[in-house]
Amino acid sequence: MHNKTLAELKIGLAKREFSSVELTRHFLDRIKSLDENYNSFISVTEDSALASARQADTNLSTGEASALCGLPIAHKDIFCTNGVRTSCGSRMLDNFVPPYNARIVDNFAAAGAVVLGKTNMDEFAMGSSNETSYYGPVKNPWHTDCVPGGSSGGSAAVIAARLAPAATATDTGGSIRQPAALCGITGLKPTYGRVSRWGMIAFASSLDQGGPMAHSAEDAAMLLNIMAGFDARDSTSAERKVPDYTATLNQDIAGLTVGIPSEYFDEGLNPATEQAVREALAELEKQGATLKDISLPHSHLSVPAYYVIAPAEASANLSRFDGARYGYRCKDPVDLHDMYMRSRAEGFGDEVKRRILVGAYCLSAGYYDAYYNKAMQVRRLIKNDFESAFNEVDIIAGPTCPNPAFEFGAKGDNPVAMYLEDIYTIAANLAGLPAMSLPCGFVDEKPVGLQLIGQYFEEARMLNIAHRYQLATDWHQQSPAGIQL
């Protein structure tokens, strides 16, 4: 059962090949026996999962099944879950049990999904390797000496290891696409504003966006149908109609123009990764798409712009963690100032503190124009690059990451080496464009991701291209050694 896609499991449930309780127990058993190898869950919600599954079986038998009735999923531990600890991978929130659900958590509950648990992640979603989690790193199911990517490394690993068929995730600079690429699964970051951020713990509010992770584009479309939509409680939520993302998956892609940005095939790209990506592009061409060389001339400034804007927004967002109303408080504070200083020093990990300090610096008097305003101007130039490109092409394609999964500790203590792993993913966040990663091959037995970047709100076209590619290839059906049985 665990090698099936969500779409296949849905058919299995409808045909009564298995019940939701059987399916849920199967995945819970796998988590129990295998997750010690991967550390991909922070919390497993066995009792509530089985209760949801029993309810789903009742609904399936009476014909009241909603879209995801009885299908197991996992939530990234950044989404608030009523009554279930939501840590955001941080000591600061190790004891935080929200009294409410994130909007998308409610959406999945209404759709009948069964929640197996909460997945591990880089602390406050700040990281590209899962090494910053307070709960220890997630291990890549393909190579347990290697990182799964981050920050949604837990969500990616549970799918790759077949501990859950699908999961939610978030992407601020590549946190869905990069771990999807490194773990050989399919992940989609929607257009900024497409998915509600209500109840999603904020990192950088003008960049953060929730999205799905799954085995296939078809499954991602099923999940996005549940996640997308206007929410009055999120002030940047898009007031636009949501299409049925599964309806157009099979459309012919002949005649589409695919833009290939030269900047995404620079000297920093691993040659074997490039070869896998070029073969994927050739497959799109075989299906009738036209490849067109394009330029995104400000690409090299996306990482520098991001490391001003994201820390600046993080320093503001994370000022709420003060040890007063919830979260970690240091022992025996002598006064209020000491409580703030030590609660935050002890509750946050090194990378989070680094970004808060960088953000505070970029926003401080005398530096605002040189850093923050300059970064927002460069952000405009990056968005303009994409707008020019989309005058000529329907979709942009290239690698998700410059390299396959690297070993733990490989980036040493230089934060910038880690930041550069997101060199191809960050621009889509700065511009607010939808983008996804799908498996397109292997380098040294490690998965490689093909990235697609779409026009605003054209997730359906991106999913259509991804689905057509997956109909012709089987990279997305590969599983790590030892998982098959």
Partner: protein, 95 residues
């Protein structure tokens, strides 16, 4: 732009994060590495370019000025490190 030990101490104070003596050198070094990265921005010509804060150039949506939420004090108080009689307890602010 590089920063020194005194800057880091000031930033720690601004951000309300205690930086221990043992960590101050490593923190200064790593933040300077990040600042060296972001200094690349200075190479861009941004004359006449307006800053982009929201990727869709959206403006803040307003709502009617009326009460839309009820009080959830009973839900929130159990999360606090210390409470008493419905209040949040913090160390003494005024002697």
């Amino acid at each position: 732009m590089t920063i020194d030990r005194a800057d880091i101490e000031k930033l720690g104070e601004l951000a309300r994060i205690a930086i221990t003596e043992a960590n101050i050198e490593a923190t200064t070094r790593s933040i300077n590495e990040v600042l060296a990265l972001v200094d690349q921005l200075q190479s861009a010509n941004t004359d006449q370019v307006s800053p982009l804060a929201n990727p869709l150039d959206a403006t803040q949506r307003l709502r009617h000025d009326r009460i839309s939420e009820s009080n959830h004090r009973e839900d929130f108080q159990p999360l606090a490190p210390a409470t008493e009689n419905g209040l949040y307890l913090v160390p003494k602010v005024i002697e």
